[in-house]
């Protein structure tokens, strides 16, 4: 099997355009993470008011990762992080993707077709992180660049990290509007009738 493609951040439009569904990548460079709906609402407020958020989000790699950050004498440290379900951010992500030109978003569980359309416009991709992958994912952290909105609970803060070989992550929505999630859901819907029919046969003892 091929090794994951190693990509430097910020991701160029060309690099994003080359990525194909199901391919695995690792990332080096700055990322911004949060797991909070209130955090997304604050970003939306910044956007509406035309203000810059406390961390520069333009062209950023922005991920739905919950992290445990705490303040020490040397500054903030992040003890661990792991993805959260992205779908609950569906209503806000298209605007955030377009406004900040997010080249690279991710988490787990995917985003909807509106988000995929927004990603296509800005030439961005969605990367799937391993849920329950706290050890593997946290191993990619090299240093903390910034922690903003620290009045929020730890995993809701907006945290900027420097990562190295973060991943592997699966390309699940590409920069051309194709989504593994949509493809798989459509395929499951198509298969449903035949699957139920096979179950009826098996239940009636007529064989599968």
């Amino acid at each position: 099997m091929s090794d994951p493609r190693n990509i430097d951040l910020p991701m160029s439009r060309e690099a994003a355009a080359e990525l194909t569904l199901g391919e695995m990548v690792t990332l080096n460079g700055p990322i911004v993470v949060t797991a909070g709906i209130p955090t997304h609402e604050r970003l939306m407020d910044c956007m509406r008011r035309g203000e810059a958020p406390p961390i520069d989000m333009r062209g950023a790699a922005f991920f739905h990762l919950g992290s445990y950050s705490r303040e020490t004498e040397e500054g903030f440290e992040v003890l661990y992080m792991n993805p959260t379900t992205s779908t609950r951010f569906n209503p806000m992500m298209p605007d955030l993707i377009r406004h900040f030109g997010l080249r690279c978003v991710g988490g787990k569980g995917g985003l909807d077709a509106h988000c995929a359309a927004a990603l296509k416009e800005v030439g961005g991709v969605y990367l799937s992180f391993l849920g329950g992958g706290a050890q593997i994912i946290s191993d990619g952290i090299r240093r903390i660049r910034n922690v903003a909105w620290s009045d929020l609970v730890a995993h809701y803060r907006l945290v900027e990290l420097e990562v190295e070989a973060l991943g592997p992550l699966t390309v699940a929505i590409d920069a051309h509007g194709n989504s593994l999630y949509d493809q798989i859901a459509e395929e499951a819907a198509l298969r449903r009738a035949a699957i139920l029919e096979r179950m009826n046969h098996a239940r009636d003892g007529r064989g599968a």
Partner: protein
């Protein structure tokens, strides 16, 4: 000698801490079997990562997942057990002590549903349900921390004199609704019959059954096989990015009821968090898993 508050409080902490750090052996074996059978390269790589993640968390004695969930305990009191404890209060005290001392520390996941404020404690936390075990001389406590993948996608429907086809269609449609979002491959627990609350409890407890065990009721064993094949045929795959492995096991239990029949479907994400131990009057703790 008798089982005291301090014993219950200590076990409360241990069970939760174990659940966060170790993927059960049966689950690791099921993931490895799935890895061998997968036809999708992305799915094989994802299953490899899951096995690596489980091994790293275990060897480092750290968390598999950053979402420690909310504490959920099932206490089964042996009717011959020797105990002198306010069990619910002891569990609450044990969890509070865990929050203060556990390394690495936990994120705040306990949520007030009226305000969405999050903390480490709250009304009715930890969630504790009780049952009895006839003639047993121990108290058995099960801990299954609940987060999105292990809680959010559960569903229940109430039918009137449903056929098995109706029941199984509901289960499939619940799996379709969860889709890629619950950290598959999952375990599914299904309750059929009883009442609204009893059926939900059946589904939740069915999740706890070890993978690979055969249902003693032949009709249910056959149903489990049908549902297992059907859910895996949907194609969501590991982490919902495609593959042959969407479910590791389907466990069904039932209770008699009225002609209206609740059907409940519960999920556990791939890390399948569950720990269980028995505590005896002489202080001995027998860890079951």
């Amino acid at each position: 000698m008798t089982i005291r508050d301090a014993d219950i409080a200590q076990l409360t902490q241990d069970l939760y801490s174990w659940a966060l750090r170790k993927v059960p052996d049966d689950t690791k074996q099921a993931l490895a079997r799935a890895r061998g059978a997968e036809t999708s390269e992305t799915a094989r790589k994802t299953l490899d990562m899951m096995l690596k993640s489980a091994a790293l968390a275990e060897s480092r004695e750290s968390f598999v997942c950053s979402d420690a969930g909310v504490p959920d305990y099932l206490v089964k009191i042996g009717t011959k057990a020797d105990w002198d404890s306010n069990i619910r209060s002891a569990i609450r005290a044990g969890f509070a002590h865990l929050v203060d001392t556990i390394q690495p520390p936990l994120l705040k996941h306990v949520t007030n549903p009226l305000t969405n404020e999050r903390g480490y404690a709250g009304k009715d936390m930890p969630l504790v349900s009780f049952d009895l075990i006839e003639d047993a001389d121990y108290i058995e406590i099960t801990c299954s921390p609940k987060a999105l993948g292990s809680g959010r996608w559960a569903a229940m429907e109430l039918f009137t004199f449903p056929s098995l086809a109706t029941i199984e269609t509901f289960v499939i449609d619940t799996a379709i609704k969860a889709g890629s979002q619950h950290c598959p491959p999952v375990v599914m627990g299904i309750g059929i019959g009883g009442t609204f609350d009893y059926c939900a409890k059946l589904a939740k407890e069915a999740l706890l059954r070890p993978l690979g065990t055969i249902n003693p009721v032949p009709e249910l064993a056959a149903m489990e096989q049908r549902l297992y094949d059907a859910v895996n045929a949907l194609g969501y795959g590991p982490m919902g990015t495609g593959g042959d492995t969407t479910v590791l096991g389907v466990h069904v239990d039932f209770a008699s009821g009225h002609g209206y029949t609740p059907v409940a479907v519960a999920f556990n994400c791939w890390i399948n968090r569950r720990t269980r131990a028995r505590i005896y009057g002489d202080g001995r703790v027998d860890r079951q898993e």
